[in-house]
């Protein structure tokens, strides 16, 4: 076996002599490596100084990261090289000490718990029961107000929107939508008047208004009057996970949800024809009043948005 191989036999740190080859650096030419590491450190320090300079010069944002990052990187490479090439190359060996205790210690430990502890409990079963019950009741009692203070109970909130009988359809600026406003194939997001700027209105009441023809549109049974003059309106809240169903594929007359690609057939009561959405988008029944404003005949006939336990 060569000398080189012999040095690779691990030794214990405790018994190592000062002249042991294991304590020699790994580098063949330590002087050279020292110079390179020195250069890396000098460059790193230069980068750090560069960081301070760029900061005070208010240089472009990327220069901060470039100087700081390069400085850290160079200093890091220098340190790793120092550890790898100039420090004792080893390898060293260390014995593992068994984690498990002796048999006597083990049984003494078990005895302390089972005999001393268990005995105490067994003798005062009643007290122990009371204590356990007390702690249990305390945690329950402590939990309830903590949970209840965090928010209101859902109650009927998820079943309601702000769409009422006769609500005006307005766009996001609050302008009432009139019967002549949209061309065929156009789409606009509408809200019940008065809620277009409220967070709740934007999140819950958002509705897409699409004009698909000039004639009245019937999307399904019982919906004969819901689509006057080719206007139809669906809740914009996806029935899958509540994303706004914002993409309208005009030629196929599909509403597409950009989040998980559910597709709803606009002409057939927005039934989902592909993707993970389980239910059609609820349709808002519309009518045109005497002055040509689009208004809702009523609110949605079902909760909007994704499914939840209480929903029938």
């Amino acid at each position: 076996m060569s000398d080189e191989m012999e040095h690779r036999t691990p030794v214990s740190l405790a018994n190592v002599r000062a002249d042991d080859p294991h304590l020699q650096p790994a580098a063949k030419n330590p002087r050279r490596v020292e110079q390179v590491i020195g250069l890396l450190f000098v460059l790193g320090i230069a980068c750090f100084i560069g960081f301070a300079v760029t900061y005070f010069l208010d240089a472009p944002a990327w220069t901060y990261g470039a100087t700081l990052g390069m400085g850290l990187f160079l200093m890091g490479v220098g340190q790793v090289a120092w550890g790898k090439y100039l420090m004792p190359r080893g390898p060293f060996v260390e014995e593992r000490h068994e984690l498990a205790s002796s048999e006597t210690e083990r049984s003494a430990f078990a005895a302390a718990i089972v005999d001393r502890g268990g005995g105490t409990v067994k003798r005062r079963r009643f007290l122990f029961g009371l204590l356990g019950g007390g702690v249990g009741i305390f945690s329950l009692v402590a939990l309830i107000p903590l949970m209840r203070s965090f928010g209101p109970q859902p109650k009927g909130t998820l079943f309601k929107t702000n769409w009422k009988k006769g609500s005006y359809l307005v766009d996001s600026t609050g302008r009432r939508v009139q019967v002549g406003d949209l061309g065929i194939g156009s789409i606009v997001t509408v809200f019940p008047q008065g809620f277009e700027n409220s967070e709740n209105g934007q999140a819950v009441d958002q509705t897409v208004l699409i004009r698909i023809s000039n004639e009245d549109v019937v999307t399904g049974k019982g919906r004969e009057t819901w689509g006057p003059h080719g206007y139809i309106a669906y809740s914009k809240v996806c029935t899958h996970l509540g994303c706004p169903v914002g993409l309208y594929e005009q030629q196929l007359e599909l509403l597409v949800c950009p989040c998980h690609q559910s597709q709803f057939d606009v002409t057939k009561a927005a039934i989902p024809i592909f993707g993970p959405a389980p239910r059609p988008l609820p349709q808002l029944p519309l009518y045109v009043d005497a002055s040509g404003n689009l208004r809702s005949q009523n609110g949605f006939d079902q909760p909007v948005g994704p499914g939840f336990w209480e929903r029938a």
């Binding site: 691990p10 990052g69 890091g76 790793v80 060293f92 060996v93 934007q202 914009k236 389980p278 994704p306």
Partner: protein, 511 residues
């Protein structure tokens, strides 16, 4: 003159051979008794293998997260209150945005190095979770989770879960259009949990979506609660590591009862500290040159707005992909809706995955009846079933991850969206069943090569004076890393008849 020199010398002698520092250490030991334990700690041996670095990457990116995160805290306002933006980013001026969004844009553009800190924080998070996953894969494939280290594996899985959750909450904080959509999806996922969903969602958000509380609550969870738990668990993880000592690959002089490598001080300290600098440096360079999460381009969150190609951060991709491909199975029973199409892919599926991770060590113990203590690592090819199972899991998660980009793939490859989605459904279901046997066969094949993973060496053919040709393979390269990694010999199932040694010069051929 000479007396002065003598006093100096006597002073030095009084101090002992280690001078003032030695004196200080003695004072410290008088009070705390640190000498014995400290010496043992400094002498602690760390095995040298590149794969043991992966956990260090995770640790150091966590430090980067803490440092940059503290910086960001000074400038961020955790509030959903609306305000009009008047900052230096012209396209947004005059828009109604939340204070959270405005403060994030302001700290990016008006605070010097603010943008760097924000981008470093985001990159460090992506690296953190990535490093944990790769570290976990290393631990899994080499069997480092076996007895006595099951508890540390459990802590590790918990850390991964917490890192993913905190990552999600963190990128939700700027309240921009993309992350707001993510919060909306999270709300709907919570809503989908049978029986409790609506209550949990209402208590967490303080009412129906979006409410006014969630950003503030997320902030508190993100900067205090979860980091504290992570910090504690990281401490426990490292404590157990020191207590149980490192595992090591089998090799020359390495047994179940020792550790071979470099000592803590000074070798490991130098390397690991340098490595911390490198991780921080690379993160800073990424922060400088690779833009991440430019929220000013997405705009503020408005509940009825949406953008195309909404993808979460990478570690949430597998959940998003699972949601995309899952069919629309909703059931209504006794007047109650159970949205399986949400609950299964986003609650039950990750629940199963993480629970498999948690119970794997116990499962393997039971299945292999191996209750022994293990300090030497397995080479993955020597445990083909475990390796194949791990590969199958990675294949499944990899496919669901790819499925989170169905829209981008369809757009990029100019394919119909629906076809891509159907293809992804098939690929996701098929991937583990295809990956398992392939990985298994590769392991089995690798077992046949005694020198797999090593560089090829020359065959030295020499001719003896009698005219016999002898072929001997040259010794392995000494700097070949795998030289130290002697694999466990593969058991021979075929008993080969021993060829009796023949006298030189005559070749006997068994018939």
């Amino acid at each position: 003159m000479s007396t002065e020199v003598n006093t100096e010398r006597t002073k030095k002698q009084a101090l002992g051979p280690y001078g003032k520092l030695g004196q200080t250490l003695n004072e410290l030991d008088d009070r705390l008794g640190v000498a014995k334990g400290g010496r043992t700690f400094l002498d602690k041996i760390f095995p040298d293998h590149w794969s043991f670095m992966l956990g260090e990457i995770a640790l150091y990116s966590f430090f980067v997260l803490l440092i940059t995160g503290i910086f960001l805290c000074f400038f961020y306002t955790p509030s959903q209150a609306l305000t009009i933006y008047h900052g230096s980013y012209a396209p947004l001026v005059g828009q109604r945005v939340s204070e959270a969004f405005a403060s994030t844009v302001n700290l990016s553009f008006q605070v010097r190095t603010g943008l760097l800190m924000r981008q470093m924080h985001h990159w460090a998070c992506d690296i953190f979770v990535g490093a944990i996953v790769v570290h976990m894969a290393r631990v899994f494939f080499t069997g480092a989770f076996r007895k006595p280290r099951e508890l540390n594996w459990t802590i590790g899985v918990t850390l991964l879960t917490l890192a993913i959750v905190n990552g999600f909450i963190g990128y939700s904080l700027p309240d921009d259009l993309v992350s707001g959509t993510g919060i909306r999806i999270a709300y709907s996922i919570i809503l989908s949990i049978p029986l409790l969903g609506t209550y949990v969602a209402f208590f967490l958000f303080g009412g129906n979506f979006p409410g006014t509380d969630i950003i503030q609550r997320f902030f508190f969870i993100h900067v205090l609660i979860i980091p504290l738990i992570i910090l504690g668990l990281v401490g426990a993880h490292l404590f157990l590591l020191v207590r149980q000592k490192h595992t090591q690959f089998p090799g020359e002089g390495r047994t179940e009862h020792n550790v071979v490598g470099s000592p803590m001080f000074p070798v490991f300290i130098a390397k690991t500290n340098g490595f911390f600098f490198i991780v921080a440096g690379v993160t800073a360079l990424l922060g400088a040159f690779a833009q991440i999460n430019p929220i000013w381009q997405f705009g503020p969150y408005v509940a009825d707005h949406i953008s195309y190609a909404v993808q979460p951060d990478w570690y949430m991709g597998w959940l998003d992909g699972a949601l995309r491909v899952f069919p629309s199975w909703e059931t209504v029973v006794f007047g109650h809706t159970i949205p399986w199409e949400v609950t299964i892919p986003s609650v039950i599926f990750p629940g199963i995955i993480f629970n498999i991770c948690y119970v794997w060590p116990a499962l393997e113990r039971r299945y292999t009846k191996d209750y022994a203590l293990h300090n030497l690592l397995d080479r993955p090819r020597d445990r083909p079933k475990r390796t194949a199972a791990g590969v199958a899991m990675l294949a499944l998660l990899g496919m669901t991850f790819i499925a989170s980009a169905t829209d981008v793939i369809a757009h990029f490859l100019d394919l119909p969206l629906n076809d891509v989605l159907v293809a992804m459904r098939i690929l996701i279901i098929a991937s583990p069943f295809v990956a398992y046997p392939i990985a298994y066969v590769i392991c089995k094949e690798l077992q046949g090569f005694a020198n797999a993973g090593k560089r090829k060496t020359a065959n030295i053919v020499s001719r003896t004076p009698e005219g016999e040709y002898v072929s001997v393979s040259a010794p392995h390269y000494e700097d070949d890393v795998h030289n130290e990694l002697e694999a466990i010999p593969v058991p021979k199932f075929v008993v080969e008849p021993e060829i009796p040694e023949s006298p030189g010069g005559v070749r006997t051929v068994p018939r």
